[in-house]
Symmetry: none
């Protein structure tokens, strides 16, 4: 039914999106705990009460931002895995997508790198599900690369996936918090080079 599932975050009504986008801006600006639901409503151009027609409560807005974005990220990641053969290219593409996505929307990046880490309550909830999925996706590529002989078989794939994710994550966090303005995407090559070849000189 939905014409194009990739574009239909809009199986959701128009105001759902408006509130979600407003929340990203407001949370990025004030921080989740300091942001008021009323601020989000005003930014979205709806009444306070309307927010509760689309979201169970304030927490749920944050969760939804996470879910929607991770849903896209993981979908894109899966596409990469299926459309590319070389495991090294897969990792390159995942890194590029990751940094592009965040680099394209600083507010979203702020919410992801800062606000979503706001409490163990959120974090545990997230790690359990979407983040694990994302890490699993990366690990599967590494394992595949090990089987294919292009990644060292001695590596702990579990650690390797976390290091990969941690490297990307730190790049984004630093970019978000940096006062300097630079292009996040263009750091992908350095990260990949380092990840592939290590720091050790030949």
């Amino acid at each position: 039914m939905a014409r194009d599932p990739k574009l239909s975050a809009s199986r959701k009504p128009e105001k759902y999106d408006a509130i979600l986008r407003a929340a990203i801006r407001v949370f990025a600006r004030n921080g989740f705990f300091n942001a008021k639901v009323a601020d989000v409503a005003k930014e979205a151009g709806v009444a306070d009460g309307t927010v509760y027609l689309y979201f169970k409560n304030k927490d749920h807005i944050l969760v939804s931002i996470f879910e929607e974005t991770m849903h896209e990220s993981i979908s894109e990641g899966r596409e990469v895995i299926h459309s590319i053969d070389d495991p090294r290219e897969k990792l390159k593409r995942i890194a590029a997508l990751h940094l592009e996505r965040m680099g394209a929307d600083r507010d979203l990046a702020v919410v992801f790198q800062v606000e979503l880490r706001s409490s163990t309550k959120f974090m545990e909830q997230f790690s359990e599900t979407r983040v694990s999925e994302y890490l699993d996706l990366i690990r599967s590529v590494i394992l595949e690369g090990q089987r294919a002989g292009c990644f060292r078989p001695s590596l702990d794939a579990n650690v390797a996936s976390k290091v990969f994710f941690g490297a990307l994550d730190e790049m984004v966090t630093n970019w978000v918090l940096s006062r300097k303005s630079y292009d996040l995407r263009s750091t992908a090559d350095s990260v990949i080079d380092l990840y592939f070849n290590g720091v050790t000189a030949a």
Copy 2:
């Protein structure tokens, strides 16, 4: 022996430490924003008002946890740099210390990995100062290694230091949020191996 308790030991009065340690436990348990100052006071065994004799306000407790710990970390890091020659060994030691410190106190780790990221307000403040110092310390080792010929000179030392920190940081975050209980320190070798040699097979 110590006439003035304020100057003894950690130079801070006994209750200052008690409140700080209590806060680490409480913030780890409930999250910073959900924790009540009254909870911290009760956990420390002092009256609510006493907290304000040692800390300007609730925020300042969190900041102090960060400052005190980073102060130690950076001091230790500096010692490492001066007491060891080989840049590779320096990084190994820094990684080990980092993971040991956090691995030894899960509550502290929770506060560092989760609560301290609670808002851009905190984060920006922190990145500007202590975190930058820590990253600078790592970068100086990498630059030293490049000059010494043991690290690839083509690497962007800036990116390399972030990737190193990001890898460690992600290891800690994962450990903190994991339901499984494992030894954080013992993951150091894998991280270092990966960081040094990359994922690429020979």
Copy 3:
């Protein structure tokens, strides 16, 4: 009839008045500093938070009581000046109105004579504006009387207006603090006689 309650009657919403009247009672009973906003809310039959929909803070409630009442007093005073010719009759009427207004609402009188004097912060603010207006009004009548030849031209009109106001003010304060119950209005004639003719025997 009135479609918009905000524009009807006193132009202020119904609850604004309810809270203001409740505050007069509560402040008179407990004193401004000892009164709790919660007491005012309960007396007004609204929730605590509702008070803050109509008043910026506790101080502002007190200020509003003052402003609303002085607004009326000065308006009435101006009417008197325009509707009466004889300066002596004007002063008589002003005195009568002053004592009637306060004599008709002991709680309001208590707030005016006692609570509003609570701090230089309030007082300075008030003197600067409304009280000065009121004193100016009185002085203008005295000056007019001097020009008309019915008041002694040698008098300092400035002092004379303060003495007039001081006399009325003291009558009200004494009435408010007195344990005896008597009619405040009926003291107006004595005050006026004294003010007009002095104490000196012919």
Copy 4:
């Protein structure tokens, strides 16, 4: 024993006076309710706890300021009454003393005109005792003047004493709250002229 009882508010220990004088300054500066006992202690150069060795509580400091000053005022008033014959001169002298006393110590004047009016609780307590004594003293002079034939017998002596006090009181209050700096004492003549002869032209 006390060498000179007039000067020995110092039958009281030295620190009693120091705290009282400090309190006058602090209450004048911050207002009674906003002033902290700790501020008073610091201004007096004693420890917080020491205040409670000399005063039962914070309220009692304010009461003591009032009592000490009124004690002097009434004593002086009594002396005037006994040392002067002419009732008109007596009133003149009382007015002069009143305005001189307050005009000589603006902080004291602030406390008297503003802070002491802070609550019905205080006011009722005061009116019952010292203020009534002071008003009685004035009334006795007026009655005496009426008997002596120099004041109009038709006047209500009760009202006349309040008007006299109110006139003086308002002069002081206005002086205290005025931004302009002028000599309070020198207004006494105008007030007395007005009080004696009224505003009515001959």
